[in-house]
Symmetry: C2
Subunit: 96 residues, 2 copies
Amino acid sequence: MIQIIANNYIKADKVDEFLKLAVGLVEETRAKDAGCIRYELVQDMKNPQILTMLEEWEDQESLKSHMSSPHFIKITTATADFAEKTAEVHVCKKII
Amino acid sequence: MIQIIANNYIKADKVDEFLKLAVGLVEETRAKDAGCIRYELVQDMKNPQILTMLEEWEDQESLKSHMSSPHFIKITTATADFAEKTAEVHVCKKII
């Protein structure tokens, strides 16, 4: 089991557009990607420019497949210039 | 519903001790704290000194009660000098 915490730092004027695309990604991922246990999008209440994906995957293989899926590649390409700074991705193991 | 992402940056020689105490906190929180929907501890696989609590609470009130509970105060006090740098806490709302 692998957990991902992916913090996206989005430009203020791109937050709404990012949200729309990211919600679509969550829906497609949940519907289509094998090995996806959890896939959620949360927004920092103090700084709405921080949008975080909280993910849980069965194994490295399913995560790898997700990251090469058409819907993942589509959003990565569409939001390429939305970032205020580089996303911070933590790949984690669950302790408890 | 409130989600918390709390990143703790722990000194290398304190990681094992922090893990032991934090597992105890998770167990007590799940067993005792009203309004706790999720309370998990994960560890960054690249940097095991980053230990993150992933939490979900029904409302501000239940989160506040948890943070003033004896088990929360006990670990905060016990691990006061374990941090390599200040913890980074994101209070978030769930988008999807």
